[in-house]
Symmetry: C2
Subunit: 200 residues, 2 copies
């Protein structure tokens, strides 16, 4: 998770929770950034007006995601943030975060490591989206998330969530899993999937 585990206690303690109703704005383009947001629950969208004047979604943040890291280094928000569900966020004040990073090399190091990991993860997820076949996409996901020892993937959320992550409909996911199980490629148990053998 890109949760703010890298932040020192001192700063974490300053994190102020804020509740948003669905549709409510968290911040607006052009405003001076107030800090780093962490989504506690619900979903928040980063939205920008494009060249045509239409709203275009840059990113939909869900629980655990961190928002507006880039704004830490910039004098103004480059997009709007609006809650798409009722949501709770935690705000870590900009000054406190920057101060912690500059004061303590350990914190800076941890912050950079976290961002580097986030980049890796995003690149892998993007790579997965280059795969056209649903089955291959599922294999890509399972192969990388299975525990090497037990060859088992513990599902963190629902199958519907997984379908969203994979970029396919939940129906397609159900059907493909069913087929993979029928082919003896995987074994299904509630909340987990076990890889059985290499496909033909």
């Amino acid at each position: 998770m890109s949760a703010a585990g890298w932040l020192p206690e001192r700063v974490r303690a300053e994190g102020a929770k804020r509740s948003l109703k669905s549709g409510q704005m968290l911040f607006r383009m052009g405003q001076r950034p107030t800090g780093l947001y962490e989504i506690v629950s619900g979903r928040v969208r980063l939205v920008r007006l494009d060249a045509r004047g239409r709203e275009t979604v840059l990113f939909t943040a869900a629980a655990g995601d961190t928002l507006a890291e880039a704004s830490l280094f910039s004098p103004a928000y480059h997009c709007d943030a609006v809650a798409v569900t009722d949501a709770v966020v935690r705000l870590y004040p900009r000054a406190a975060v920057i101060d912690a990073i500059q004061r303590d090399p350990k914190v800076a190091q941890a912050f950079m490591a976290m961002m580097a990991r986030e980049i890796m993860s995003l690149r892998t997820r993007l790579e997965r989206r280059n795969i056209h076949s649903a089955r291959e996409r599922i294999r890509h996901y399972l192969g990388l998330h299975a525990d090497p020892k037990s060859r088992t993937v513990v599902l963190s959320g629902t199958l519907k969530d997984l379908a969203v992550e994979l970029g396919i409909t939940h129906e397609a996911l159900y059907r493909t899993l069913r087929d993979m199980a029928a082919d003896g490629e995987i074994e299904r148990r509630p909340g987990r999937i076990r890889l059985l053998r290499a496909p033909v």
Copy 2:
């Protein structure tokens, strides 16, 4: 670009070019990281053996991409890197990079800002892949890449490259652009596309 423009001259000068033949390994999982790679030309893949023992692609790096940032903070590579075309990379030694980051807060700041921007960009590209319709995907891209004044997108590469970025076949891209032009939504000129009016 995530090019290493944030690196101080001193370190940049130490960057040693290395040429790879297609298929050649750049580094292997488990090895001690040597530094930060920047792709000059060609393509290099990050590959890992998954739980099933199959090779799974984590990321395909192209010119301008930076490789193995995460390994800067880790004692061993977590995957293999192999050239998929003849390629040229530049290596910035690990010690020099880390030293520069720790010595100069400006460099650290720039590095963090670069990573934050990279994260934003990746998230936006991932968001785009959630869009199912090819036309909407193209709109998303054009809307965000058009110069707001001229409403014009200057294409950096070929249309085939753009199709890859969008995750659709080049045929689908050609056809959709043709249709959008016919509908008066865009205007095409060699190497650039101009947004005309909001779609119905």
